[in-house]
């Protein structure tokens, strides 16, 4: 039994029995049991601009557990602004030490001198499975040669890369700290040169044709955290090759219940589809992370 199995919870899905007189027999019976939920987009520590109800690790892990989330891939809010990235990653690793449900994802900022050492530490000293990038907060574009070099090195080290396209709606950011979403348009060309790279786009709101363009690369995956609309997650899944959409909540900045409900509220996904987006796709995409 591995550490994930220890935390398997059973979750029964969406037993709704609305009694709306104008909706004929409006009763939905769906008793699918989801034994494993992997949240690929969680962060630890303090959001710099506001206290969040779940910005304490015990509160966050208790909440995730109560929702049936058996594994959370956690980055660090500190990675946005701190320049002592080594200390950021050490604190993250330590926070996850006694919490087997947390998989730490390191921060790397390729605009800082010595970032290669941070990357190496993530792979070797911390034995992390992936890293998380914030190009818009760190001030580089995806055309930057340092980004390509980082992707190459991460790929060679067996690390998957999470790229946070945004952290907050640009309309609600602090007036003194406005950060545009990452421009993903250079990414397809970059990936053509690094075919082994595995990259997951977090907090994106991608649309056609760039969505399909990125989806055509077998190493690109997508999360669900900011995909809104009652049927938008099934539509996202349908618009991409199989296995590319991974559940992510962006907790604790966003409310994790919101992300979970959005996956199934339209009743479009069947049991297989739910299992895929909630856990199987993550396991298959980043197999090493689940060992």
């Amino acid at each position: 039994m591995n550490r994930r199995d220890l935390l398997n919870l059973a979750v029964s899905v969406g037993t709704a029995s609305a009694v709306l007189p104008t909706i004929a027999h409006a009763r939905v019976e769906l008793t699918t049991e989801i034994h494993q939920i992997i949240d690929t987009n969680v962060s630890l520590f303090r959001w710099p601009f506001r206290r969040l109800p779940l910005d304490n690790i015990d509160g966050l892990t208790n909440k995730l557990r109560s929702l049936g989330i058996t594994s959370a891939w956690v980055g660090s809010f500190e990675g946005l602004f701190h320049r002592d990235v080594a200390a950021v990653n050490t604190r993250l690793t330590n926070a996850a030490l006694d919490r087997p449900e947390l998989t730490p994802i390191g921060s790397v900022n390729p605009t800082l001198s010595g970032w290669e050492h941070d990357l190496q530490q993530c792979a070797t000293a911390h034995r992390m499975l992936g890293i998380r990038l914030h190009p818009n907060y760190h001030g580089y574009t995806l055309n930057d040669p340092r980004f390509s070099r980082l992707l190459n090195l991460a790929s060679a080290a067996g690390l998957f890369v999470q790229l946070a396209v945004s952290m907050e709606d640009t309309r609600t950011q602090s007036a003194t700290m406005q950060v545009a979403d990452v421009d993903l348009s250079p990414l397809p060309a970059v990936l053509e040169k690094i075919p082994a790279a595995k990259i997951q786009l977090l907090n994106h709101k991608l649309r056609s044709p760039l969505l399909q363009q990125l989806g055509s690369h077998p190493g690109v995956f997508f999360d669900t955290a900011r995909i809104d609309g009652t049927d938008s997650i099934p539509k996202l899944i349908a618009s991409l090759p199989s296995g590319r959409v991974l559940f992510g909540s962006h907790a604790p900045f966003l409310i994790p219940e919101a992300a979970l409900i959005r996956v199934h509220e339209s009743d479009i996904l069947d049991e297989t589809g739910l299992r895929s987006v909630l856990s199987n796709n993550a396991k298959q995409a980043f197999r090493k992370a689940m060992v």
């Binding site: 029995s17 609305a18 909706i23 109800p53 809104d228 609309g229 907790a251 509220e265």
Partner: protein, 284 residues
């Protein structure tokens, strides 16, 4: 199997039913109802029904276009002026589920006053909606609002004003902020106003209406940012918060999640999810 069974983020059906959810901000085909006046609305209501059922909603209020220039489609505007009852088809299809508040055009006071009489005085609409974009948007501090508010108040109508506080400033000059709604509300202290989206950037939105007791905030229209409801309850009181779903362009998860996951009491959730709105509509 763990005993902590959940419904993937949703409370138990019995709990949802106990909330008696009335949705103040349902947006089926929000910008255009379809050339015939209803087909796109009907399709979007159908599209929303799984979420409506899962949330155990009792009622949802949407905002019909009634021919006063709230769309850019002249053919539709002419059609609905000639045949106003075409907008009623969704209400006929879902008579116990849907409520309505007409979209008004403060740029056209005369037509809007006629519409208030036609749809509020004579029914079945319960109030009005002032949009924040499109051809009919106008900043709510404009004097054109005054005769409209007076007439709506005469008829005990409810007023929903679209608001946003956008970092970097307004997208268009006709948008309204919660601070501007607070100015309007100060002129009409006996009239209640709904501040749609709590300004989007809700930390500023809540502060802007804090000292306007006749302004209530509506909860939809932005990401499910944690801490919103907790701050609103702390600063305004649960009695001044009204739930909206923004379905189907937003989601049950995002919008209901804000309330059910908030660290507030069950009684406060009931107020926000339905009781406050029913009181505003005199439907208690």
């Amino acid at each position: 199997m763990n005993s902590n069974l959940t419904q993937l983020g949703l409370p138990a059906a019995e709990t949802l039913q106990s909330y008696r959810i009335w949705d103040s901000y349902f947006t089926p085909s929000y910008s255009h109802p379809g050339a015939d006046g209803s087909s796109k609305v009907m399709a979007d209501v159908e599209r929303s029904l799984p979420a409506i059922r899962k949330g155990h909603f009792e009622k949802l209020c949407w905002f019909p276009h009634i021919g006063v220039g709230t769309t850019t489609d002249n053919d539709f505007e002419e059609l609905v002026q000639k045949k106003p009852n075409i907008i009623l088809k969704p209400f006929e299809r879902w008579p116990t589920l849907l409520l309505g508040m007409i979209q008004l055009n403060a740029n056209n006071v005369s037509a809007s006053l006629d519409a208030i009489n036609r749809w509020l005085r004579d029914g079945p609409m319960l109030g009005v909606y002032f949009p924040g974009g499109g051809p009919s948007a106008m900043t709510c501090t404009h004097r054109n609002f005054h005769p409209l508010i007076e007439r709506i108040a005469d008829l005990n109508g409810v007023i929903m004003q679209h608001t946003w506080f956008k970092t970097g400033g307004k997208t268009g000059p006709a948008e309204s902020t919660p601070a501007e709604l607070a100015q309007l509300a100060a002129r009409f202290p006996q009239q209640k106003f709904l501040c749609a989206h709590a300004g989007g950037e809700w930390e500023q939105g809540i502060r802007a209406v804090q000292n306007s007791p006749n302004v209530l905030i509506e909860t939809s229209g932005f990401d499910a940012t944690a801490g919103f409801i907790e701050m609103a309850v702390r600063e305004l009181g649960a009695e001044r918060i009204v739930f909206g779903s923004h379905l189907p362009s937003r989601s049950l998860g995002t919008e209901l999640g804000k309330i059910i996951a908030a660290e507030i009491t069950e009684e406060q959730k009931k107020l926000i999810l339905g009781e406050n709105y029913r009181r505003l509509l005199n439907k208690e």
